[in-house]
Subunit: 219 residues, 2 copies
DNA sequence: AACTATTTTTAGATTTGTCTAAATTTTAAT
DNA sequence: ATTAAAATTTAGACAAATCTAAAAATAGTT
């Protein structure tokens, strides 16, 4: 199926939103994600519905069809594999990869993505800890909870970030937190929700907001 | 400078044509290269002239300006670096790389291309023997002549191809000719211009057409 | 020099994706 | 059940890149 750049981006946006909410995606949410107007989103929704990539009933939002889901997942797969490539092979840092991956995800070549996958040794997560769909659009997401949900004394391994905002990722770099490190909750401040965590033999204070955006797997 | 996909492709086509001919590029040649109509080429020429990427006088064809040349060369640079990447890192053969490189050449990221260059160890030619412009748009092309220009008894190293048609490249694969091998002219057939060459301890007959499309450096 | 063939440009139409403004439907609140 | 607010769709316009058909300019030939 021939897809335009715009169609691919809309499908991916629908995929990302519905993965979070689980419900039909509203026109306004979609328009916001695409940084465009609701009327433009409606136009594109009609086109995608016409091509049977989404199910659409007026005023009721859209859901991906089987085929729409597969296409969207393949774009997300490419996006995340390219992010791994940029970090692992081209010395990008995790706050630099997204914009370039936004472009690379639209390159059309099955062989390219298969070989890239092999070159990278079949990674299962991207540099932000997000799962990489396989070629059938399936993901096996590991259980992860926000650091903020841990109680005093509990430990966890850092496995992902909720926000991928540059400032947040750079902040984590600055306080030397990266995926894979182990942390222990030493103290929680009831007043502002900040936590004191122990890692790398240091104790540091982490704001409530940062703790809510850092995913860990309990250990 | 923000360039559309189409503008980039036109600039590259102008670059490729004028590199061969040395003269101003005619509307018809440009349209042919872009697989479009002359009227469309005229429209785009006007836009490129407006942006000072080409010098244009009605009915006289176009020439790249300094800036136009730099942009075009940077696209060719990206195209050829990606071709090297595909062959060296992703197991593509030299007849498979072009279509994918046509897409990859439009990815915008200075860091990406610098790092790619380094990953590939700063190659100077692409898989077809074509020179890779440096970041200032300069190339140092090595002297190369068609195999057909060699006389009986002369030797040469295979350094490039004139045609990059799939069938030709696959034919070269089949007769085990690749860049870097050394050949010697054993005999030339006056009748049809074919040549008998010695390489890899074998003698093989190569048609006039193939010999005209295979570049060698005399040794 | 005049005529013809070729090349190039112009004029007007089409498609894609977007926008603004207005109309419609749904939702939430009296 | 009405009414007000919010969300969504429709209508009409626009810019980018293309096309066809017609007009204009150039090049080639007698
Ligand atoms: Mn990303
Ligand atoms: Mn990511
Ligand atoms: Mn190529
Ligand atoms: Mn090439």
């Amino acid at each position: 199926m021939l897809m335009t750049l715009s169609e691919e981006n809309y499908l991916k946006a629908i995929y990302n939103i519905s993965t979070k909410t689980g419900e039909a995606v509203s026109t306004n949410l979609l328009a916001e994600a695409m940084e465009t107007k609701a009327s433009s989103a409606t136009d594109m929704i009609k086109k995608l519905a016409e091509k049977d990539f989404v199910n659409y009933k007026k005023y009721q939002g859209v859901k991906l069809t089987k085929e729409g889901h597969l296409i969207a997942a393949s774009i997300v797969r490419k996006h995340r594999l390219w992010e791994v490539f940029l970090v692992e092979k081209l010395n990008f840092s995790w706050d630099e990869v997204h914009e370039v991956a936004e472009q690379l995800e639209h390159i059309k070549s099955d062989k390219l993505i298969e070989e890239l996958d092999a070159l990278l040794d079949f990674p299962r997560v991207d540099p932000h800890g997000d799962p990489i769909p396989n070629k059938y659009g399936e993901i096996q997401a590991k259980k992860k909870v926000p650091l903020s949900s841990l109680k005093v004394g509990e430990k966890g391994v850092c496995v992902g970030v909720k926000s991928t905002a540059k400032e947040f990722l750079q902040y984590l770099d600055k306080i030397e937190i990266s995926l894979g490190i182990e942390l222990e909750i030493i103290e929680k401040e009831a007043f502002d929700g900040s936590v004191i965590v122990l890692y790398k033999d240091q104790q540091k204070n982490i704001s409530a907001m940062a703790a809510a955006n850092l995913y860990v797997r309990k250990t």
